[in-house]
């Protein structure tokens, strides 16, 4: 969809006290993340809702990187198209960074950058970064890093960020190590003092302490998913490093040693292993899942492609595993450090043959935690691969969210038979026999020494007793049962979240990280006179609730962060009779979709 001109201007009530965005342009590897997170956390500590997005390159050091902070007491967490405040620390992007600023916005820059100022409508602040750093006499190796503390100090002064929460943020960041905290604080205070003595500006942007963050937490989706997995009772994680999924298993590496030692014996109740590649990562999970371990792996598009064959095996041989997919931009290596929702089709149908998997799609970090534990239950209950689709925006960025909720259902191990269960079972047990008429067979796991317990798992055709079979009827019957089994999960997988407004005839469907920007866009659209009911899809296969929503609206937009409208395609196949009333709103450029773009795209369709 092409960019369209606004039919009506967006109401500018988004710039002012506790309501603005900051765009900070720095160089990758210069330690700017410490400075950015300090600002973010300090504002959060002052009780003002805030979120942060890291727009980073696929690089260790030297390339441009940006950090976008959205302060919003109305609670909007999506990316803003423009920034009210720009901090320009990187000469390489100095000109482009000016372009991101709203009219009359605040432009802070390092005064050693000699490139021309191209706009005359900006409030300019030239920060004497080099001079202030030199005066502080930091160790030579630290010069580059502490330079970023200058803009923290200047912003603190201009916006009214208090020193106490800044100190708390640095304490948290450096895990209480005194000397870096002290030095950075000194640097910030020096810059604060410089601003106090030299700047006298009238700006509308201010942080005023509020009580709006309550018991909210500030966290990224990958950490949330890792913790959810730990509380879900995982036994086994195998993984291979890939951006942007890596921080998910790394969260498990950080937290599991504290949370998952047996209090009686001190022994580890889980295993985490870095595999040689994604082929092995999922292979280990399938082995573990077969043998009765709750197994999980995490990857992104390229790794997911490599996992296809084992996913197909898990589907056919009915092995529980969980695969977290933190999506980035494809095809191919694509944009490894940018966000997308482009692997919906790949994940949903992963594997050769008629595979179709259970897919959970968290829409915020709290759900990353919740689906983290739920996915393990569903995988074991339905004895299959369960995919959790996250993305870089959700997984790697800092979001404000309600605190994690302790699982409200006990760990579900599904139909596992141990020795004593086999003694009790009345009908003749066969690994793939549907004894209960619910399409889900009973399984045994290695280590069960009952003489009737063992079976031979395979990726080839098999009968109800797991014996090799090429018989046409046996094949068809088994595959039909598996299809019915997956479909029956609709009753269990997370139901959609529906938000209705009065007199809305049309609806919009979105999922995953689209939620933040869409909620904001719907407010704009309401002001524009466009009323839409909103269904946030949280799982596949699509339940009756989802299909009823589509049926009950004249037009339904399907919003997603990819080029081709993959979810639009899946839903159109589910409901071909309504396919012509479903309109794809899809776009992919590597950046999180913003509310302004969604508003324009919808307006464009509504007035056609």
């Amino acid at each position: 969809m092409a960019q369209t001109q606004s039919k009506k201007p967006v109401q500018r009530r988004l710039s002012g006290v506790n309501e603005f965005s900051i765009n900070i342009g720095t160089e990758n590897g210069s330690g700017s993340q410490t400075a950015n997170l300090t600002i973010l956390r300090a504002i959060f500590k002052m009780g003002v809702p805030v979120s942060g997005k890291n727009i980073f390159p696929s690089n260790i050091q030297g390339l441009p990187t940006w950090y976008k902070i959205r302060v919003s007491q109305s609670g909007y967490g999506g990316r803003r198209k423009e920034a009210d405040i720009v901090v320009a620390m990187n000469p390489k992007t100095f000109t482009a960074d000016q372009g991101d600023l709203v009219k009359g916005g605040l432009f802070l820059y390092a005064d050693d950058i000699k490139d021309p100022i191209e706009r005359d409508d900006m409030i300019l602040v030239a920060m004497p970064v080099k001079k202030l750093v030199k005066e502080a006499k930091p160790h030579r190796d630290l010069r580059k890093f502490v330079a970023n503390m200058i803009y923290v100090g200047v912003l603190a002064n201009l916006l009214g960020i208090e020193m106490e929460p800044i100190k708390a943020a640095l304490d948290y960041h450096f895990k209480g190590k005194e000397s870096p905290v002290e030095f950075n604080i000194k640097m910030i205070e020096r810059a604060y003092q410089w601003a106090e003595e030299n700047l006298d500006l009238e700006i509308p942007y201010k942080i005023e302490p509020r009580d709006l963050t309550g018991n909210a937490i500030l966290v990224d989706g990958n950490t949330a998913a890792g913790l959810g997995t730990i509380y879900g009772g995982m036994h086994f994680v195998s993984w291979y490093p890939i951006t942007p999924a890596t921080s998910l298993p790394e969260a498990i590496l950080e937290y599991a040693p504290k949370l998952r030692l047996d209090p009686e014996t001190g022994k580890s109740t889980y295993v985490i292993i870095q595999a040689e590649d994604e082929l092995a990562a999922i292979g280990m999970c399938v082995g573990a899942g077969w043998a009765g371990l709750r197994a999980m792996t995490a990857t992104s598009g390229p790794g997911l492609s490599l996992m296809a064959e084992y996913a197909s095996l898990a589907y056919l041989s009915e092995i529980p595993i969980v695969i977290w997919v933190v999506q980035r931009v494809g095809p191919s290596t694509g944009l490894p450090t940018r966000t997308a929702q482009g692997d919906i089709n790949l994940a949903y149908y992963l594997g050769q043959g008629d595979t179709k998997h259970i897919m959970l799609i968290p829409g915020n970090v709290k759900e990353c935690f919740e689906f983290g534990w739920k996915a393990l239950d569903l995988a074991e209950k339905y004895q299959t691969a369960v995919f959790c689709l996250s993305d870089l925006d959700l997984g790697k960025n800092q979001w404000m969210t309600e605190p994690f909720e302790y699982p409200d259902t006990p760990i579900e191990r599904g139909k596992i038979l141990w020795e004593e269960d086999l003694e009790k079972i009345k009908d003749e047990w066969g690994r793939y026999r549907d004894l209960d008429g619910d399409f889900i067979p009973y399984r045994t796991v290695p280590g069960n020494i009952h003489p009737k317990g063992a079976y031979f798992a395979r990726g080839t055709g098999h009968d109800e007793f797991a014996n090799y079979s090429e018989h046409p009827e046996v094949w068809r019957k088994n595959l039909d049962r598996i299809k019915n089994k997956i479909d029956s999960s609709k009753a269990d997988i997370p139901e959609p979240v529906i938000t209705k407004i009065r007199e809305a005839k049309n609806g919009i469907i979105a999922f995953g990280s689209m939620d933040a920007a869409l909620v904001e866009a719907l407010d704009y659209l309401k002001a524009d006179g466009v009323k839409l009911n909103y269904l946030r899809l949280r799982s596949l296969p699509a339940s009756d609730q989802v299909l009823d929503f589509i049926r009950s609206h004249e037009k339904v937009y399907v919003l997603e962060n990819n080029r081709d409208g993959q979810m639009h395609g899946i839903l159109s196949l589910e409901l071909p009779e309504k396919a012509q009333d479903m309109i794809s709103i899809a776009m992919l450029d590597g950046l999180p979709i913003n509310a302004e773009w969604i508003r324009e795209a919808v307006l464009n369709e509504e007035t056609d």
């Binding site: 036994h235 292979g283 064959e309 605190p403 798992a457």
Partner: protein, 343 residues
């Protein structure tokens, strides 16, 4: 005792109790001989079939687990990726005995990566490669272990130099590496028994002729070539703990390798004066034998003390897959603490 099949072992099982489905491999296939020796070894070692898992990849070799030990759990997985399957599965209950059966295509071509990593991690399991130098199920293509110049019916001459699985296993830091020949059942059985008692990965490269596609007398992987070129490093016997006390080690003529569990491997010197505990020496010996056009068989390298993958994890005494659910979920209080620090 009324016959071989009726012999009852110490846990009350006959050889029949270790059998699998009837083999569907070709008559005379070397792999059938391997299957037979696995059955005999497990029977003689009094292994409870239910305490063992058998895993494989894809290919003729990988069908083998169907033909032995029906009472054991089995998983016929993906081509070249049996090692990862075994890794995940054996963590579930580290008391399980693992037998993996792979082939030369499955291990030395598509599975080379996983093979090298499973040896490097020293996963405790017996890893048998049924090596015939040829692809059987796809009907007669060269495998990566086929010798340079080998002529096959449809393929013409092999252009490439072969992969030596034993060499790769030693370089990959496997802790037990042997080569055998499916035409030498006694040695093969002794190696399987020793491998099953080894703490760590035991790789046995078994030259196992393909009677259908690669059994010409001049082919490295044929019965005739094996029989006329085999040079056994030693006369090898596996000594269970009860017998160990009785065996007299004649000084200078035998090498005694004690395994971790009180069993021993007894190596009686033959053609070579060879110590299998030196990694560099093993590679040197292989290279020399190769130059002499010999098929060296026997225990080529062993380190009974190398730490295994499981040694690196502090796992509970109870199998992970039997841990009660309440041991798996941290407390609500711990989550409250996490919520406090998330910012």
């Amino acid at each position: 005792m009324t016959g071989k099949g009726k012999k009852i072992n110490d846990i009350g099982l006959s050889r029949e109790d270790y059998k699998g489905k009837p083999s569907t491999l070709c008559l005379g296939c070397g792999h059938n001989a391997i299957v037979g020796q696995i059955i005999s070894a497990c029977h003689e070692l009094n292994i409870l079939p239910e305490s063992l898992i058998k895993v494989s990849g894809i290919g003729c070799s990988s069908k083998a687990p169907t033909y032995f030990m029906d009472r054991s759990f089995g998983f016929n997985g993906l081509h070249g990726r049996m090692p990862s399957l075994a890794t995940g599965a054996l963590f579930a209950d580290t008391s399980l005995i693992g037998i993996g059966v792979s082939g030369d295509g499955d291990t030395a071509s598509i599975g080379m990566g996983q093979f090298k990593h499973v040896t490097r991690r020293n996963l405790p399991m017996l890893y048998i490669v049924a090596n015939n130098g040829v692809y059987g199920l796809t009907k007669g293509q060269f495998s990566a272990t086929a010798e340079q110049g080998l002529a096959l019916k449809k393929q013409g001459q092999n252009r490439y130099v072969p992969v030596d699985i034993v060499w790769e296993a030693i370089a990959g830091r496997a802790s037990f590496v042997a080569r055998s020949f499916s035409g030498d059942p006694q040695q093969l059985k002794a190696l399987i028994m020793a491998g099953l008692h080894h703490k760590g990965i035991a790789v046995i490269d078994v030259i196992s002729p393909c009677v259908t596609f690669n059994n010409h007398d001049d082919s490295y992987h044929s019965y005739a070539w094996g029989k006329s070129h085999e040079v056994a490093l030693h006369e090898l016997s596996f000594v269970p703990p009860v017998q160990a006390i009785k065996v007299q080690y004649a000084e200078g003529e035998t090498i005694n390798v004690p395994l971790y569990d009180g069993t021993h491997i007894l190596l009686k010197k033959l053609a070579h004066d060879y110590e299998p505990t030196n990694r560099a020496g093993a590679l040197e010996m292989l290279e020399e034998a190769n130059n002499r056009n010999e098929l060296i068989t026997g225990l080529i390298y062993i380190n009974p003390k190398q730490s295994t993958l499981f040694d690196l994890y502090d796992l509970p005494d109870i199998a992970l897959n039997r841990l009660p659910a309440e041991k798996l979920r941290p407390s609500p209080e711990s989550l409250a603490e996490i919520n406090q620090i998330m910012y």
